[in-house]
């Protein structure tokens, strides 16, 4: 047992040191049969590996095409690789390279590269008598069509959401910013599940220090695999113990483009339909691209509503508990009497009552998410009618508590970012406990701790509390209120951009 453990340990270590010190890799041999033997040795138990050897006499001799079935575009392989090679008329002089009617063809010299390329979906062409192999990019895998994003529904913006292929996602972003300054840095990550990351930014706007910081953090990650963007987020956060999300994730290309234009940096992770955006500030989780598409007074109103919702979702149950169990002298007599009447039959202390209701709600919510749509509706019925009404009639929870919890739930749905809304859910419970123990003093202490945390938190080295504290009054045009777009001449200071101005004087001409 012990020996087994030790062996296991060393194997992990070996794998980790794999990338740092290169072991000798076999190079491509001139003899085709040697190469095929090596391939078979590498890819044992790989029934989906297709190896097709055929004669291409009048050009080169024997050639072998190798690819993983299902990761290639069959049409492209048939029409642009196999057909020109097989049906090339005799007598005409030409090389294999010229015959392939595929956009991107590169050359590999060793089996390490061959292995990765095959696994990533390229097709390889081995040629008898050559010490190199052609890597043909004819990838094609099961793909989803571009649809409306699930998590962030768009009211006014574009209705295209990101998909699971990074090249498509980058294309979607490029459609919004066709500018040569839009630069992309590619990076590969993961020891087993090799993942391509693309860091997208505007070279003449984004602060190079922040970019460097992000790159350094990404480079230091050594993991098996990154399955999605939020997973990556966890490895590069400034404060991993914080409840708050320190990067924005978005499924919408217009939202990502808007952030890039503000001077932020986006990271597209291959196989993930959401894109990471940093540096994020606390208030950026309450903004939405749709805000800029709505009339500015309306957008302002909606913004205010969101901040109010944040406060209600965080503090309302706590305030209710504090009022009922601690500081009841604050409520006028008539009101406290009617509250007392509804609580008459309830046997639990307010904290327990609130916990029962809040937990029920969270459970309903979680059960609704994973259930298939037809069953999902029953959850609503069970939750709304059975629990909501019966629980009050049975005298387990008071009427007012149901109102408070419902109001809190509605408020937490208004927060546009899922990660932030989840953070609020957890903070709410902490606040409820504090309120039950110390009343209003507890709530204020909780708020103080919240503020203390928010102002010391950073995202990619940029203060999270900006533009509130440190105050950057220039950014307040787009904070609680959303002024007309032509008034926001500069990029937000919170992103520390190197090019500040984003537009000239665009004030609409007035009459006369």
């Amino acid at each position: 047992m012990r020996g087994w453990l030790r062996r296991k340990k060393t194997s992990v270590k070996d794998r980790m040191s794999h990338s740092s010190e290169p072991i000798r890799v076999r190079e491509i041999s001139e003899r085709l049969s040697d190469n095929l033997a090596e391939l078979n040795a590498i890819f044992t138990l790989t029934p989906d590996l297709v190896i097709r050897t055929f004669a291409c006499q009048h050009i080169e001799g024997m050639v072998t095409l190798v690819y993983l079935n299902g990761l290639v575009d069959k049409n492209s392989i048939n029409n642009n690789v196999l057909r020109p090679l097989l049906s090339h008329p005799e007598g005409e002089k030409s090389s294999v390279f010229d015959l392939l009617s595929v956009g991107k063809v590169s050359v590999a010299y060793d089996f390490r590269k061959v292995e990765t390329e095959i696994l990533l979906g390229s097709s390889l062409l081995f040629i008898e008598g050559r010490k190199e192999v052609l890597v043909i990019e004819a990838n094609g895998w099961p793909q989803r069509a571009i649809e409306d994003p699930q998590l962030e529904a768009a009211l006014k913006g574009g209705h295209q959401g990101f998909v699971e292929t990074d090249t498509q996602n980058i294309a979607l972003i490029r459609r919004y910013i066709p500018n040569r300054e839009l630069k992309i840095k590619e990076m590969w990550l993961g020891e087993r599940g090799l993942t391509k990351l693309s860091i997208i930014f505007l070279a003449d706007v984004t602060n190079p220090e922040i970019l460097q910081e992000l790159e350094d953090r990404l480079k230091s990650i050594k993991v098996d695999s990154i399955l999605n963007a939020s997973e990556l987020e966890e490895y590069i956060e400034d404060n991993p113990y914080s409840l708050f999300p320190q990067f924005l994730t978005s499924e919408r290309p217009d939202s990502v483009a808007s952030h890039i234009l503000q001077g932020k940096i986006a990271v597209v992770v291959d196989r993930s339909p959401s894109v990471l955006i940093g540096p994020a500030t606390f208030v950026s989780f309450f903004q939405n691209v749709d805000d800029y598409g709505t009339r500015w007074p309306v957008a302002t109103f909606i913004r205010m509503l969101r901040y109010l919702a944040f406060l209600i979702a965080t503090f309302l149950p706590a305030i209710y508990i504090a009022l009922i169990s601690f500081n009841y002298e604050v409520i006028p007599l008539d009101l406290i009497l009617s509250v007392g009447e509804s609580r008459e039959k309830v046997p639990f202390p307010p904290l327990l009552e609130a916990f029962i209701m809040e937990l029920t709600l969270e459970m309903l919510r979680e059960s609704g998410i994973r259930l298939p749509a037809p069953i999902g509706q029953t959850v609503g019925i069970v939750g709304g009618i059975v629990i909501g009404q019966a629980v009050v009639q049975a005298g387990i929870v008071s009427n007012i508590m149901v109102i408070v919890v419902a109001f809190t739930a509605i408020s937490s749905f208004i927060i546009p970012n899922y990660d932030m809304a989840s953070a609020v859910r957890l903070i709410r419970f902490l606040m409820m406990i504090l309120a039950a123990m110390f009343g209003f003093v507890g709530i204020i202490v909780g708020l103080m701790a919240l503020i203390g945390h928010l102002i010391t938190l950073e995202s990619l080295g940029v203060p999270y509390g900006s533009p509130l504290a440190p105050a950057r009054f220039g950014d307040w045009k787009d904070l609680f209120i959303r002024l007309p777009l032509w008034k926001m001449k500069d990029r937000p200071l919170s992103a520390h951009t190197i090019e500040e101005q984003r537009q000239g004087d665009n004030r609409p001409r007035e009459d006369g």
Binding site: P332, G439, I443, I451, I455
Partner: protein, 366 residues
């Protein structure tokens, strides 16, 4: 040599840091203290106090200008030599520690009287210590940001206070100078102490980003504090009768008690709870500079170790001995005396030597 460039304060943060340190417990008691000594002429004493504080603040700023990249505890060893300098640093740290301790136990006292009468004092202080730790561990910058944010969060207070204006009697304020100048001078001795907190000019100056605004900033901070005090005093004087006000320990809170809405009674409870914010901005700079000085004394770069120690020691101390009301008064008295020395006497004494030493240094260079 720029030791503090990473931790920089904006001018607004500098102003609000000092203002935050000045406005604290004093606001709750000052109307009574002034009424006892100078009756309704207390507001004149306050102006005198403000003038004195502003003058001394300007001297402090001028003094710190000689060594723009150094805090007072970096300057001590330069002037006094290594050992005397260390003693001075220790004294400074002790002063800040006393101030912080007095503030904390006073705040706890008020909370115990008004809000949490059943909760033991050490629990309240411990509760208070948690968020304070979160803020102070971030250094001057975090305290500056905190002071900034708290300032916005307390902006609602004057608006609610205006509802008390319906019941004021302005005649209470008349006649002006009814008992001559003597009581006014007497009272200004205590108003001078209400402005304690400007001594953070000693510490905050090197952190300030735009040093040219240091003098202006500290004057604005003092003036802001004066405006807060004077508005509270005048409303209290006009609201309570001159004799009634002396009966309340915390007249400002009693003023809040009188405010009532149809959906909300006892606004004072909400007010006092949120006043914890203001109390925290008062205590946290003192705590920070106490542990900052002591860490420097022991040659430690990270102030967090001492901070944890300090924030644990206070609850432990209160657990061993819960101070009575009279103890609180005595403690405040001690702070006033030390404050008088460190904030008022020290700059007056040190200004000359620092200027001279700098001149001598300049002479050597030339």
């Amino acid at each position: 040599m720029k030791k503090y460039t990473y931790n920089q304060l904006s001018v607004l943060q500098y102003i609000l840091l000092i203002h935050g340190a000045q406005v604290g417990i004093g606001v709750l008691t000052i109307p009574r203290e002034l009424a006892e000594k100078a009756s309704t002429d207390g507001w004149i004493s306050l102006l005198i106090g403000w003038l004195a504080a502003t003058l001394v603040s300007l001297i402090i700023t001028n003094m710190m200008k000689q060594y723009p990249e150094k805090t007072i505890i970096d300057i001590f060893p330069l002037i006094l030599g290594k050992w005397l300098g260390r003693v001075a640093i220790a004294l400074m740290s002790i002063y800040c520690g006393i101030a912080a301790f007095v503030l904390l136990i006073n705040a706890t006292g008020i909370i115990n009287v008004w809000l949490l009468s059943q909760t033991p004092a050490y629990v309240v202080v411990f509760l208070f210590a948690l968020p304070t730790y979160l803020v102070i561990q971030g250094g001057v910058r975090a305290i500056g940001r905190y002071a900034e944010l708290v300032f916005y969060l307390t902006l609602w207070i004057p608006f609610v206070l205006t509802t008390a204006y319906r019941e004021v009697h302005w005649l209470n304020l008349l006649p002006v100078i009814k008992e001559g100048w003597h009581p006014i001078w007497e009272a200004s001795k205590s108003t001078v102490l209400s402005f304690l907190g400007f001594e953070f000019g000693y510490f905050a100056y090197p952190f300030l980003q735009k040093k040219q605004y240091a003098s202006l900033g500290i004057v604005i901070a003092n003036t802001l504090t004066m405006l807060v005090y004077i508005s509270v005093i005048i409303v209290c004087f006009a609201y309570f009768s001159p004799d009634e006000i002396k009966e309340y320990t915390w007249p400002t809170l009693n003023l809040w008690k009188a405010i009532e809405f149809r959906f909300l009674e006892r606004v004072d409870i909400l007010f006092l709870s949120s006043y914890l914010f203001i109390l925290s901005t008062t205590a946290s700079p003192y705590i920070y500079f106490c542990v900052f000085s002591s860490s420097q004394l022991f040659g430690m770069k990270d102030h967090r170790k001492h901070l944890r120690l300090f924030l644990l020691l206070v609850p432990v101390a209160l657990w061993l001995y819960t101070p009575s009301f009279i103890d609180l008064k005595k403690a405040s008295q001690i702070w006033s005396y030390t404050g008088l020395f460190f904030a008022y006497a020290l700059p007056l004494l040190a200004w000359g030597p620092i200027k001279l030493s700098k001149r001598a240094e300049g002479g050597k260079k030339a």
